[in-house]
Symmetry: C2
Subunit: 463 residues, 2 copies
Amino acid sequence: MNLTEAFMQSLFAAVGKENVITDKEPLVAYGRDYTEDLQYLPSCAVLPETPETVAAVLKLCNENKIPVYTRGAGTGLSGGSLPVNGGVVISTEKLNRILNIDTLNFQATVQPGVINQVFAQAVAEKGLYYPPDPASKGSCFLGGNIAHGSGGPRAVKYGTTRDYVLNLQVALPNGELIWTGANTVKNSTGFNLTQLFVGSEGLLGVVTCIVFRLIALPAHQMLLLVPFKTAREAAVAVNEVLLSGITPSALELMETSGVQISAEATHTPFPFHNDAAFYMLIELDGDNTETLMQQAELLYPVIENCGGLEVMFADSSELKEQWWKVRRGIGETVKQASVYKEEDTVVPRAALPDLLVAVKEVGSRYGFQSVCYGHAGDGNLHVNILKNELSDEVWNHEIPKAIREIFEVCRDLGGTISGEHGVGLVQKPYLDVVFTPQHFRLMRGIKAVFDPNHIMNPGKWLD
Amino acid sequence: MNLTEAFMQSLFAAVGKENVITDKEPLVAYGRDYTEDLQYLPSCAVLPETPETVAAVLKLCNENKIPVYTRGAGTGLSGGSLPVNGGVVISTEKLNRILNIDTLNFQATVQPGVINQVFAQAVAEKGLYYPPDPASKGSCFLGGNIAHGSGGPRAVKYGTTRDYVLNLQVALPNGELIWTGANTVKNSTGFNLTQLFVGSEGLLGVVTCIVFRLIALPAHQMLLLVPFKTAREAAVAVNEVLLSGITPSALELMETSGVQISAEATHTPFPFHNDAAFYMLIELDGDNTETLMQQAELLYPVIENCGGLEVMFADSSELKEQWWKVRRGIGETVKQASVYKEEDTVVPRAALPDLLVAVKEVGSRYGFQSVCYGHAGDGNLHVNILKNELSDEVWNHEIPKAIREIFEVCRDLGGTISGEHGVGLVQKPYLDVVFTPQHFRLMRGIKAVFDPNHIMNPGKWLD
């Protein structure tokens, strides 16, 4: 869409001309994320430096009914930030300051453009812990984590982003700034606007400041790696580990084909086992190494009984890093191997064996290869469907039917279609699998309360 | 208000005549709760036996624009369920079944009329743990806990009701039943309707079924009791305990006057210390008694440095029960001692010393006695203001100004006006201390989406 000269002058006045990008070449980067090969071109991108400026930009766009797409680091996997209708992209990249780390209250106040890992390291230096760690933690922004309710491997013990957000400052389309709650871990005062914003994917307003709660930093981690002969054995073992009474700080499953691709592409050594169809990564953490050793010893027979082929122990920080690097690399490297679609299925964790079997059954029926991996302890399984030699016809018209079948299995098992990536653009066609017309009516109604002119992230799942 | 004969006939048809109470005498009990001496008379009370019946009653009331007040066990402390405009009370007392305890997924499905403690015991028998434990746990319903986002002593380590709700079935005013989410610990699919309902105080719909997540039951508890000479020393000690890196499963403060009243009224022995102004109750839990002993030993010097007069250890389950009985009894017994107003203040926990000092300063300025106690580890302090010899004039016109001052202190310290009781009726006059007109606009807008005819709990904080 073309923005008028008058609008652009107002925008320059609001945010500073130096903070507005209008040239096509640099704009391209503001029109894509990590989702497949999707690309849209916004009319311009603005880089506000204060919450007040964000609010002013929203007010201006609202008055002129210009679409607004809020963008973090662009690491999203559902296309949630893409400017599908053109208009203005608000990038939070200049709102990148850690304002306060409160070691007395175990809280921190940060801007949305702070990188997840930068924040986690800053609080760790003060003996505190911010657990949520998406695979993209080295580049993703905390604001994007909030927009999608991001998880990560540590969610099995520590929960997701949602569980660490105490209070949010948000800019509303009408140009107002409000705080959604209070800086307390308990709050029964009014509707929970804070949790309404977490996972709202930029449809309601723009998060301009965040108060997180933190916890004490565990002193030690221990990492175990277990190959399994079959998907079902591996998935059953996930449940048995958790039923043993020990809650690992990570409990991941990785299909061997994904491990191979990642290890090769990242040039990382990995202790492959000839008979392994799946690998399980178990991280234990705590303040006492003896306790961790005791927990590991308790787990050995549990794993053995479930068909674990061996239990490998990372006895150096180098090994730990290698195994994690391979795990974290799967998502990205598998996608470089083929055109792909990535699904973010989630079920009650004991239903994981059934889900895995169903994914493979659907795959063999529709003739696609899938690489499965993810946060098995949460029942959150990423399914990367590879195009490989499939025709465009099959890819565009048959595979969506297969994905729908997989999501129906998720629903029937008590789960849903996204555990941590969000619905965004690419899950939009499947939303009726889990939502009734009532859900849409309520959610559209809520959106209209915050955004009556429908300028926030139009063209996404709620439209 | 008078309900028409035609409406009553439809109500009988929907819910069964035997499930409708219209006689004044039994109706009285449906018009009060545990909040001060408030009493309102509903036109009738209905006791539905199924979610579908609840939905049918809502539809009928919606079509006839009859006020609906949902009621659990009536243990609320903010007047949230009181039928201030008359109309229909929906009691959930017959929706009282535990439908499923899923030991594989650590989940349970229950109806809203199940008593908190009955549920906690049922899951404990299967080795699982439902931590939220309001003082009224022996009688309060889980549905009421959800309506108010209830907490309790264990929240300092385990969080509140909010943190255990995975999915809710709710009846909407239009007569539809929906599930708000999925039975998974991770969910990034659409707006978080589940957490919107938690703490919504019956303003949006009626919760008809609940899926809770559970955790593994810790095997052991240890209880310590520490007297302190001053409020400030006790409040500072709360913070120092948490900064030691140990997270107790309860960390409570009790003002001596409250302990005296409770111990006497409940005929319970208590080891009073002559110099104590406040007592701290510290509960540690875990699977290993040795670890608990080590933690207790680590805490001794911390507590001593903060002015703890001695550290008493409950070396029998009898002692543990006695100390907890005195703690849990304070709220109710203090109220029997005088006409009172109870406030549910909450601040970031390190601000607790400042809050305590401020409460006493306001009290001495306005001339009232207060008894303070509560969940200090969360910064959640209950302030019982006693009327004693104050005139009605002062009580009705001056004390509200004092309460407003206390809430302003809470806000300025980063806190808010209710940590776990809800706003309901009695906190309504103070809501502007923490909410701007924008907050009211958004919350009223959200309510109108769910309840366009404004039949759900009219006359409460949002009106």
